[in-house]
């Protein structure tokens, strides 16, 4: 459950974040620093605030109340997209910044379309991209404030492992909480091992 929501959010947010990160690192345009600063500021928004805003927007008396999304999984996905987007942008920006401009020029010189060249360059930094995805995944899966507020932590419906942990701790059931934490950890470990396997041989060591 937790995983499905988080992965969906991640997959939706990633392409946009990648393109924005690319534009930020390969293009200078007026307002560039502004976008970067804004994005960095967004990173510091507590998830509860995002949750709060979403609740206000999606609540029946809010502007999008008619969609009846509050306390459903789609609402949680929206929340998680908002949470991981700035992080993904920051990390993809950083990733692309590690690529020399020559890479882009070479790709274009060799007759690649813009999209193809973007793809090639993303492959150049594939380990950084993986790291960005893993980090963002960690952030959304571990996030509790927004998930609680927007999902409502309804048993069997919008309750995730993380919100369960939060619940157990307010009950004083520490052991239960830690047990759930371990479950989450094991799942994350498995996922990371899978990622690690696909990384293949050249993961280690700085490029060149």
């Amino acid at each position: 459950m937790s995983f499905k929501v988080s992965l969906t959010a991640l997959l939706i947010a990633f392409p946009f974040a990648a393109v924005l990160g690319f534009v930020l690192s390969f293009w200078r345009f007026p307002g560039h620093w502004f976008v970067v600063t804004l994005n960095n500021t967004m990173l510091a928004i507590p998830t509860v605030v995002i949750g709060l805003i979403l609740v206000l927007l999606l609540s029946r008396s809010g502007p999008f109340g008619d969609l009846r999304l509050l306390f459903t999984q789609p609402a949680m996905i929206i929340g998680q997209i908002l949470i991981c987007f700035p992080l993904l942008v920051a990390m993809m920006h950083m990733a692309y910044q590690g690529v020399s401009r020559h890479a882009w020029e070479t790709a274009r010189s060799l007759g690649c379309s813009r999209l193809k060249a973007l793809w090639l360059i993303t492959l150049e930094v594939r380990f950084a991209v993986l790291a960005a995805l893993v980090t963002a995944f960690g952030r959304v899966i571990a996030e509790v404030g927004c998930a609680m507020m927007v999902g409502g932590n309804i048993a069997g419906y919008t309750r995730t492992i993380t919100t369960s942990i939060a619940l157990e701790t307010t009950k004083g059931e520490y052991v239960q909480g830690i047990a759930l934490g371990i479950v989450l950890l094991v799942l994350a470990l498995v996922l990371n091992l899978l990622v690690g396997v696909t990384r293949g041989r050249s993961i280690q060591g700085a490029s060149q």
């Binding site: 010189s109 090639l120 150049e124 050249s202």
Partner: protein, 206 residues
């Protein structure tokens, strides 16, 4: 390829100003100039990789579109973080040709570059000369009609230079236009039809 009234500046200092420049199909031109005179910059602008402060470059009266017809070979070629074969294959991947034809082209290119033994090695571990050879083989696969070669022979040994000279000859025969820079005198400069000089911010043609 025609360029008129081209000018490149960095901030307030002008690198060069070129009244007119014409590169015709089948021509081979040697661009000379001191270090830092702006040769690389000119080639990049002609390739559409940088934009000039003034003027424009036209091919058949149309603006250069990056990556179409024109191919620029970097002074320090960029190797993608994949195998030698992978670096060649990425040029082919966009083509609409049968897998068999592609495979054939790939093998030709590999053979031409002389890097058959290193086919599966990571391109970034190649030696300086090998990189240059791979970059030429890679560009060859693009079959552009304008070639902008930036010091192709700088780190090549004699065999490599000979291969480069042959490449230029073949290209010229096939009707491509070539503009190349190099600081070395030798076979390569001798086969050029024209020599252009970059001097004091102007282009002097012979």
């Amino acid at each position: 390829m025609v360029a008129e009234n081209l000018e490149k500046r960095f901030g307030r200092t002008r690198l060069w100003h070129i009244d007119r420049l014409e590169l015709k199909a089948g021509e081979t031109v040697h661009l000379r100039g001191e270090n830092g005179s702006g040769k690389t910059t000119l080639l990049k602008i002609l390739a559409g990789l940088q934009s000039p402060e003034n003027g424009s470059v036209l091919i058949n009266n149309a603006r250069v579109k990056l990556g179409e017809k024109v191919c620029y070979l970097h002074q320090q070629p960029y190797m993608f973080d994949r195998s030698v074969k992978g670096n060649l294959a990425l040029v082919l991947s966009a083509r609409r040709e049968s897998a068999k034809v592609k495979q054939q082209q790939l093998e030709d290119a590999l053979h031409w570059s002389g890097l058959e033994k290193q086919a599966d090695q990571l391109a970034r571990t190649l030696s300086g000369g090998e990189r240059q050879a791979l970059a030429m083989a890679r560009a060859r696969l693009c079959q552009p009609s304008f070639w902008l070669l930036d010091e192709p022979t700088a780190s090549l040994d004699e065999k490599g230079v000979t291969k480069c000279v042959e490449l230029v000859k073949t290209l010229r025969e096939s009707g491509a236009a070539i503009l190349l820079t190099t600081h070395q005198q030798g076979e390569l400069t001798q086969i050029c039809d024209h020599t252009w000089w970059m001097k004091d911010g102007r282009l002097v043609t012979d």
